[in-house]
């Protein structure tokens, strides 16, 4: 963002944070790489390992490029970090300006009771999912391009 002046900005704290984040992730990457190489030797096939769902484990089956795996993981974590709060904030921004929609939602939520509060019910709870569907394209549409750290492959969704 500072362009060619970025070397003048203080960054000791930034570098220290990057180092700690990288160390944290690399611990799990090393573990995944080790697990994979052990499994590969004993079974000589990828199939059983690929059933694992974790991103780091799957990446470890494809490459042993530490930096590449780390960038992919970091990208996923960064997206997961703030996006939900942004979506909640934007939705509440809209709700505050559409009181009738809030009243409708409240009626439905109260009608649903405590049974509503689980993953499946909430994911298919139409009155609220409609609000989220309607809100996402209105406000959170600003994509950014971070040429220096964005690894290839992931789509930056509007929540990122």
């Amino acid at each position: 963002m500072l362009g060619r002046f970025k070397n003048l900005a203080p960054k000791a704290a930034y570098i220290d944070i990057c180092r700690r984040v990288h160390e944290y992730i690399e611990y799990y990457i090393r573990q995944a790489l080790k697990d994979y190489s052990l499994k590969e030797k004993s079974l000589n096939t990828h199939a059983p390992y690929q059933r694992q769902r974790s991103l780091v484990q799957n990446l470890a089956t494809q490459t042993n490029d530490m930096r590449f795996i780390r960038s992919q993981i970091l990208q996923g974590m960064m997206a997961a970090q703030e996006t939900i709060s942004v979506l909640v904030s934007n939705t509440m921004f809209l709700m505050a300006r559409h009181p009738s929609e809030w009243a409708l939602l409240r009626t439905e939520v109260l009608g649903g009771g405590e049974d509503l509060f689980n993953y499946h019910e909430l994911s298919t709870f139409k009155p609220l999912q409609n609000i989220l569907s309607e809100g996402t394209p209105v406000y959170s549409q600003r994509f950014i391009f971070t040429h220096d750290i964005q690894p290839s492959g992931f789509t930056r969704c509007s929540q990122c």
């Binding site: 996006t83 509440m92 939520v109 649903g112 509060f117 394209p137 600003r142 789509t155 990122c160």
Partner: protein
């Protein structure tokens, strides 16, 4: 917006010319930026007045994966879609359960602040009333 580099000479079926109904030629190597806002404002897909906040329109419309794509699409689509929608729904449903009214405490329009993520530059200032 979403940026992509064109990997081979391509012709997009429409969008060119005065009436935007002519094909567009995209040469290999071109950096193309698509605007999702423009795409999500198409009345043919989202019904009348797509710029208005009207959640009930989702009872009538069913856009395809390439017409509505706040989470991208295809193999490169957002990994966190289901997680985000469920967690945001949880928080908002709890708020709706607890508070009868939400009042805006900020008259300014939405303004973006683009960092690693994009968010509301003015934050979200609201009053919540239990009764």
């Amino acid at each position: 917006m979403l940026g992509r580099t064109c990997l081979q000479d391509t012709t997009l079926p429409m969008g060119g010319g005065k009436n935007q109904d002519q094909p567009i030629y995209v040469k290999k190597g071109t950096f193309v930026v698509t605007s999702y806002i423009a795409m999500h404002m198409d009345p043919r897909v989202f019904g009348k007045s797509p710029e208005l906040f009207r959640p009930s329109r989702w009872n009538e419309i069913r856009p395809s994966q390439w017409e509505y794509m706040p989470f991208g699409g295809g193999e490169r689509a957002c990994l966190g879609r289901e997680k985000v929608l469920a967690e945001a729904a949880y928080v908002i449903a709890r708020l709706a359960q607890t508070f009868a009214r939400v009042q805006s405490r900020d008259d300014r329009p939405w303004k973006e602040l683009v960092r690693m993520t994009a968010k509301n530059a003015n934050g979200c200032s609201v009053g919540l009333f239990s009764g």
